[in-house]
């Protein structure tokens, strides 16, 4: 199981309690595979994190894990082992933007 932390507005949209959800990834646990699994489990999140078709990350969404910014990693990049083993969460972050 991969632990995923969602920002509050996406938790409300997905109607989940608590800050974390868990998704199961078959095959290699890449960033793209985790997002595929997340959208499969919570279809209302499609389009809210990345583009429906191109899967390009939305401008003000960031991906963090293990104190690293993974936002610019290609989608087929494997996640850190600590995330794959469930020790650390994969964070979907609404970027600080505005004044």
């Amino acid at each position: 199981m991969i632990r995923v932390v969602l920002p509050v507005h996406l938790r409300t949209l997905a109607r989940v309690d608590g800050s974390e959800v868990e998704v199961e990834v078959s095959g290699e646990a890449t960033q793209g595979a985790v997002l595929d699994a997340l959208e499969e489990k919570f279809p209302m999140l499609r389009g809210a994190i990345r583009d429906h078709v191109t899967h390009k990350r939305r401008d003000f969404i960031r991906f963090f894990a293990c104190q690293e910014d993974l936002s610019h990693d290609p989608p087929d990049t494997p996640l850190p082992n600590a995330v794959i083993e469930g020790q650390e969460p994969f964070l979907v972050v609404g970027a600080m933007a505005g004044g």
């Binding site: 920002p7 507005h9 996406l10 409300t12 949209l13 209302m44 499609r46 389009g47 809210a48 994190i49 429906h52 078709v53 939305r58 003000f60 969404i61 609404g94 970027a95 933007a97």
Partner: protein
């Protein structure tokens, strides 16, 4: 028991205000979708409990919410707005071609007779339709594919399709307006469109009488007389008596003819309302006095309506989708402000009171007359 439900979209959530037919005491429910920009909510004319809402965010993009119980509960429905075929380009601010990019839904217009059919006006300007209650959305590409499409250029608010009027006497005819392209009409259910801007004059474009390029802010129609249209343009209040084929100015004695909303009395097709705003760079009422202007002659002769509205130190704006009317015997008029007030009149505008004072900036107000 009749009543009124107001669907209020704001910068930070939606609110539903309900009252009985007296419209004196109001229940306030909200914020719904707290923190999201709620551009527009509207109920189906065919089913008063079927509501649709456009929910947007600079972070998380577009959602469409649907309620089947008058707003008690909501479900997210389809939010994929993919342009049909080759995306193409419109003109960017610097004059270069810019690919069409979906940004948000400005306006949702449910069909007059089918709760599952809804039209959506979006930015970058295009029109979409769902026929399955919002699950899937498909573009009506004839509009964006109109020959003038590549020349459309966004105004300061974006290249938005913000107004959709359905002709109740002719299901094939619709009117739409785009900032800053102008007004368009279809007579074949959206397959093809023609610009209907003859008579408009806009000094801010190279050819003031160009076929397209006008910054239309809002169009209104009385359902009993769908060939008569009223328009609040960037500057100028206009009228057409031939379904948009030609327009003439009816600004008359208004203190300024800049503004955003325009609406028509529910029972008097020649009675129309606007909210004059000082100028395109000073988006607030002239002299700090919030005045609705009413014409009972279809334009040209206007009277200020001030009873109950602030007449000093008022510097709010009223946005294009933020005025509406109910259809009770004594017509109710409502409008919301960027200062978070929603004002109501139950006597055709003669007197006003604030239902709420302190909401986030109001983007849209729609009235449902409940049976």
């Amino acid at each position: 028991m009749s009543g009124v439900r107001l669907l209020v979209g704001t910068r930070k959530g939606a609110f539903i205000l309900t009252s009985d037919g007296k419209r004196k005491a109001w229940d306030v429910n909200g914020p719904l979708f707290a923190g999201w920009e709620m551009y527009h909510l509207k109920g189906s004319p065919a089913d008063q409990d079927r509501l649709y809402a456009s929910q947007t965010s600079g972070w998380f993009g577009q959602q469409v919410q649907r309620s089947d119980d008058g707003g008690k509960t909501w479900e997210p429905v389809g939010n994929e707005f993919a342009y049909d075929g080759v995306t193409g380009t419109h003109q960017w601010y610097d004059g270069t071609p810019h690919p069409w990019e979906f940004k948000r839904v400005w306006h949702l217009e449910p069909s007059l007779d089918d709760p599952d059919t809804v039209y959506a006006g979006v930015e970058d300007a295009a029109m979409f339709r769902t026929t399955d209650g919002g699950k899937t959305w498909h573009e009506l590409p004839g509009l964006r594919g109109h020959g003038s499409g590549p020349a459309w250029q966004p105004g300061a608010g974006g290249l938005c399709l913000h107004t959709i009027l359905l002709d109740p006497s002719n299901e094939k005819r619709m009117f739409i307006a785009i900032s800053a392209a102008g007004a368009f009409r279809t007579d074949d259910t959206g397959e093809t469109w023609k610009p209907i801007n003859q008579g408009l004059k806009s000094e801010g474009i190279p050819d003031p009488k160009a076929e397209v390029g006008h910054c239309v802010h809002r169009i209104a129609m009385h359902p009993s007389r769908p060939d008569v249209l009223f328009m609040q343009k960037h500057w100028d209040v206009m009228r057409s008596d031939d379904a948009g084929d030609s327009w003439h100015e009816v600004s008359g004695n208004l203190p300024t003819d800049f503004g955003f909303p325009i609406d028509v009395h529910a029972h008097e097709p020649e009675t129309i309302y606007v909210v004059p705003i000082k100028s395109d760079s000073e988006h607030y009422p002239p002299e700090g006095k919030l005045r609705v202007y009413r014409s009972r002659t279809g334009g040209n002769e206007w009277e200020a309506l001030t009873n109950g509205l602030p007449q000093r130190d008022c510097y709010v704006n009223v946005l294009r989708d933020a005025m509406t009317v109910d259809s009770l015997d004594s017509c109710g008029i409502y409008f919301g402000t960027t200062g978070g007030q929603v004002y109501a009149s139950t006597d055709s505008g003669d007197s006003w009171h604030a239902i709420v004072h302190d909401l986030p900036a109001v983007l849209s107000v729609e009235a449902q007359t409940l049976q």
